[in-house]
């Protein structure tokens, strides 16, 4: 038991990874059981994450040296508050999406691929978990690369023209991005001689002054490298195609979780390697601030003109990623807390919306937002959850989105930059402009003789949607516990 407790951080990465490769063989033999095994593996990960989070909440920072090689030589896993939050979010949300995918997959991807889909899913998940808890830069690069490959696999699994093309574009740009990241890691290794984030940071404080140009180059390489993968505004061109043409459970994990882990890694590198002060004074902060503002407006405007529901949701992701970047480049503690909170709330909202889109497609086969009239009576549960997520996107009080908008507004006041409040309000209005027509149509434009009926989708598809909607409401009504935890995470990073 003692030994197991020590191994817990390692097992949360390794169990999904091992099960992923076992499933690849198992799928040839018994395809229909793959989903249950995958759910068991992720449920184990969720339980361990919960135990680890309890330990972190008690004030401990968990260190684990992989296979006994201690810190500067071996790979070190560190679970601090940010890592624990992401662990819980990643495992919890992907458990919910897996539950949804059990039934929905059969309608969306070729039957013989349904078993191997879970291999890709678990591979992506374990690499994401590794990315948020690793403390080693090269290990981070490997995890980034595995996540990128797994995510492309999740898109291409549909086996259609559009998704194949979108995933090739995603793969090419993601590889370009990880090339930039690896180059930046090379620069850091060259000047510090270390790969462990804590040691690099300690060395960098001493040599930073000697290489101002190299620091500048490293920072911009990291911004471009992880920015491509996190879909920072002008680099988002791969996202709408990839996220809208994927199967709906893939869209949910890609939009809700995959783009976030890159932001978390970026945050880690900026705040823990370079240090908060350096980031705060660098020009890179103003660049990200500008790009995030453009993302918020541009993403919303692009979303407004899309008629395909999933494409509209994908462009909305571009805008919401802008919120997260805006929050952390404001450089005030409220701003960063709001950014981290938005990572959670946006995951809930976008997963809820994409899963609802998947359920609507499952029952009615409709994809266009103009064809949704009367849907509020045919699928009351799904549309109720959709409405909750839409209201939260707009930022109505009592829903999760309001809390982040409030946090961002406080952050911009703290940064003496009240113009961003105008931006936030404007973007809220734009969100209303492209989400409310859908809701309005579903409830109020039906023909006369509709009667209320229950959703005709399997119950395993309804439960995930409802859980996510309840999550949004919970975050909107009782945000204080999460906010306290995130404030602790931020105070550890920015000192």
């Amino acid at each position: 038991m003692e030994h197991f407790q020590k191994l817990m951080p390692f097992s949360v990465v390794m169990i999904p990874l091992i099960v992923a490769f076992m499933l690849a063989i198992f799928a040839r033999w018994k395809r229909e059981f793959c989903a249950y095994i995958a759910i068991a593996a992720v449920a184990y990960g969720f339980y361990i994450s919960y135990l680890l989070t309890l330990r972190v909440m008690a004030g401990e920072v968990i260190h684990y040296a992989v296979s006994g090689w201690i810190a500067p030589w071996g790979i070190e896993l560190v679970i601090d508050e940010l890592g624990a939050m992401m662990l819980l979010l990643l495992t919890g949300c992907s458990l919910v999406i897996l539950l949804f995918s059990m039934k929905s997959l059969h309608k969306e991807i070729p039957e013989q691929a349904t078993g191997w889909y879970y291999t890709l899913y678990l591979l992506t998940l374990s690499a994401m978990i590794g990315m948020v808890i690793t403390n080693d830069l090269f290990n981070l690069y490997v995890m980034v690369e595995v996540t990128g490959l797994g995510a492309c696999g999740l898109v291409v699994a549909k086996g259609e023209k559009l998704s194949t093309e979108a995933s090739l574009r995603y793969l090419l740009l993601a590889t370009l991005g990880s090339g930039f990241l690896l180059f930046a890691i090379g620069f850091l290794y060259q000047v510090t001689g270390n790969l462990n984030i804590s040691y690099v940071a300690a060395e960098l404080v001493q040599v930073r002054e000697q290489y101002p140009f190299l620091m500048w180059a490293t920072m911009s390489f990291i911004t471009v490298g992880l920015g491509v993968k996190a879909a920072l505004f002008p680099l988002h061109i791969w996202l709408p195609d990839a996220h809208s043409s994927a199967p709906s459970s893939s869209s949910a994990i890609l939009s809700g979780l995959v783009v976030k882990v890159y932001i978390v890694s970026m945050l880690r590198i900026y705040f823990l390697v370079f240090g908060f002060e350096v980031f705060h004074e660098s020009y890179m902060r103003y660049l990200i601030l500008l790009l995030a503002s453009m993302a918020i407006l541009g993403g919303s405007l692009f979303a407004f003109v899309q008629l395909n529901l999933k494409r509209r949701l994908a462009y909305s992701t571009v805008a919401q990623i802008g919120y997260i970047f805006l929050g952390f480049s404001l450089g005030t503690s409220w701003g960063i807390v709001a950014a981290l909170l938005h990572i959670i709330i946006h995951a809930f909202m976008k997963i809820c919306l994409f899963l609802s889109a998947g359920a609507i497609y499952y029952q009615t086969g409709r994809k266009k937002v103009t064809h949704f009239s009367g849907l509020g009576y045919q699928m009351p549960v799904t549309m109720a959850a959709f409405t909750v997520a839409a209201l939260s996107m707009v930022g109505i009080p009592l829903f999760g989105g309001f809390i982040t908008k409030y946090g961002l507004a406080m952050g911009s006041l703290e940064a003496n930059n009240p113009y961003f409040i105008i931006l936030i309000v404007l973007s809220g209005l734009l969100n209303a402009a492209y989400y409310f027509p859908i809701v309005w149509q579903a409830y109020f434009t039906s023909s006369h003789n509709v009667k209320l009926e229950f959703d005709k989708v399997p119950v395993t598809m309804l439960i995930p949607i409802v859980i996510m909607a309840l999550g949004i409401l919970y975050m909107g009504i009782f945000p204080s516990g999460t906010l306290d935890f995130l404030e602790r995470a931020v105070s550890r990073m920015i000192l």
């Binding site: 490997v142 023209k161 093309e165 370009l176 180059f183 060259q190």
Partner: protein, 120 residues
Amino acid sequence: MELSRLLLNYPYFISIILFCLGCLCILTQHNLVKKVIGINIMETSIFLFFIAVGNIDGGVAPIYDPALPADVIYINPLTSTLMLTGIVVSFSVTAFALAIIVKLYQFYGTIYAQDIMRMR
């Protein structure tokens, strides 16, 4: 003085040039296979950079040999080891990209990005 420093550190200079060439290749070529070749050029330039970082002038291969004098300098093996992982990653990305290109060729009958965009 600046030029002499550049000449002294020529491996870094070459790796940067190759990196830029690779990026240009990925972004501007219309032939999808050439884009994949661009990825390989880019990643190889990074391998060159890392190995140049680990190299020491006059160093020997990092294998302990009692026959060598005690003050011999071994080069840094870590960067070469890291690049083994890098090569594996690059290999798997290439394989995956080529597999997708084969699939696209089956769908569209062409591997030119422009034609595929037109046929959509």
